[in-house]
């Protein structure tokens, strides 16, 4: 019942607020806010996807920027050869990300814990240096994309169309993820986090369930990359550098692990703070670090978790609910 109230209120409210951003930006005469907003939505989509493995399955993938970059280069390289059809680019992006996720996942999921973190990082770095070495496609300097992905009825030229595409995809992905969380697959996936041995003993393939989640997560992150390429009109190796993987993890963690909408709140908070601190000093990381530490320590399980009074672990005691209300205030200050 509490879950449905969450779905009934928080999700529509969140997406209404997000839908208002372009109009408010126009009213304020600040088109930059749409670009910033689109960037936030794109990272939110990637973080939402990462949460499928990180939050649900408890697998710390430290290489998800790889998929973001693959999505970018799917647009960049195809457009380099004059293939601007968005559907073709999307299909290539999905197929490439799925294949890479399948291979990388098959290797990485033989390990767990630190091993998994290191191998996902290693694969991401391999793709990073592969992109750097691609001289024809700009190498280190990146690749300019002159034509936006064209989807027939619309194309992703400019911030506004990218914003709405990201908004729509994020909404669809959130609704899908909410369903998945309660579905047999989602329940088993989360169970593999808590107790893989028991999942095994019940007759499910822990490896198979994890690999499926990893591939789905990689593909969704790749689609976020496709949007990012259109937003920046640029494909660069830096999109798949390891700090980007780290940022995605931070977004998921401060938003609340395993909480479906947490990564969206995490991405909004992280990127808004980054923007705010950047306007103060170029050493914005100095300010960002402590804030992330405080959020991680105060709101255990992320500040998105502070919405727990709307979507608690079943039958949360009243006292806990009040505590989380206080956290909401803290977090929104």
């Amino acid at each position: 019942m509490q879950e449905s109230s969450y779905r009934r209120w928080v999700l529509p409210l969140l997406f209404l607020v997000l839908a208002a951003v372009p109009f408010v930006a126009q009213w304020l005469g600040e088109p930059f806010y749409v670009t910033l907003g689109a960037r936030i939505l794109i990272y939110a989509l990637a973080a939402l996807a990462l949460n499928l493995v990180l939050g649900f399955a408890g697998l710390v993938s430290f290489g998800h920027a790889m998929f973001l970059g693959l999505g970018c280069y799917a647009v960049g390289i195809l457009s380099f050869y004059g293939i601007g059809n968005g559907w073709v680019q999307l299909a290539v992006c999905i197929v490439v990300c799925a294949l890479v996720a399948l291979v990388v996942g098959t290797v990485c999921l033989r390990t767990s814990g630190i091993g998994f973190i290191m191998i996902t990082l290693a694969f991401a770095q391999m793709f990073y240096f592969l992109a750097v070495s691609l001289r024809e496609y700009g190498g280190d300097d990146g690749l300019n994309i002159y034509d936006a992905s064209a989807f027939g009825l619309f194309d992703l030229g400019g911030s506004q169309p990218v914003y709405w595409a990201a908004w729509g995809l994020l909404l669809a992905a959130s609704l899908g993820m909410l369903r998945l969380r309660r579905s047999p697959f989602g329940m088993i996936l989360r169970a593999t986090h808590a107790n893989p041995r028991r999942v095994d003993a019940l007759g499910y393939s822990v490896f198979g369930v994890r690999l499926t989640a990893y591939v789905a997560s990689g593909v969704l992150t790749g689609i976020a990359g496709l949007l990012l390429a259109n937003l920046t009109a640029f494909a660069s190796p830096s999109y798949m550098s390891w700090p980007v993987s780290g940022e995605l993890i931070v977004m998921v963690v401060i938003g609340g692990l395993g909480n479906v909408l947490g990564p969206i709140f995490g991405a909004v908070a992280y990127l808004l703070m980054e923007e705010a601190f950047k306007s103060v000093t170029q050493h914005w990381m100095l300010l960002m670090g402590p804030v992330v530490v405080v959020i991680a320590m105060l709101a255990r399980g992320g500040y998105g978790r502070s919405l727990a009074w709307l979507w608690p672990a079943r039958q949360a005691p009243v006292k806990k609910a009040q505590a989380s209300k206080a956290e909401v205030k803290e977090a929104s200050v």
Partner: protein, 257 residues
Amino acid sequence: MTAATMAAPAALATRDLVRRFGGLAATDGVSLDVAPGELHALIGPNGAGKTTLINLLSGELRPDGGAVTLGAADVSRATVQERVALGMLRSYQVTSVFDSYTVLENACLAALRKRRRGLSAWTALRNCADVVDAAREALSACRLDAVAEAPVESLAYGQRRQLEIAMALAGQPSVLLLDEPMAGMSAAESAGVIALLQSLKGRYTIVLVEHDMNAVFALADRISVLVYGKIIATGTADAIRNHPDVRRAYLGDDADA
């Protein structure tokens, strides 16, 4: 009863099963026959290799030698999943349930495998009526219906142990491996589980590892005694109770069980 079960082909059997850990043979040439519908108890002092044997049967450990057969199938090299697919399910000595889920959800996850072939990512688990029905049936067999909606974290220890058995039942097994289902229970809780196992007896082929001798002697059709990885005797409760080697190795001369 005993004569009849012995004559039938074995539901579960091992031949010269060996498993070593370094120089220690934890399972040392074990040959075991469990007839369909039999409740076969495994007893033995601590460190005799009972849990190793259960793990070899369930597939969590691979044998270094020998064979395990389930019905007509040789499953010596089969994975846990393949053995589960053939209907062999187990419970754990250390309670191993999903703490963050409700009792019903735990049972549903156990029941799911038998009812659905693929795993849907769309329909909510609790809307899969057939799965929920099977889960509720297993819970009521273990007298857990009253706490079906409670989170597992809130259960008393004895109830968690019962859920452990309910989850094995919900998977609709033909062979049940129960690893010390009464471990750590109070006398009253144990009595409840003994009554439960009594009601299951005959409907499933059961391998029971248990320390509680009263329970074993009351429940088992046959008992095998494991010492240092070897079976030193197999027989009915009376035969085991009076077996000279068993008395010496395990029960002690003053045993009055």
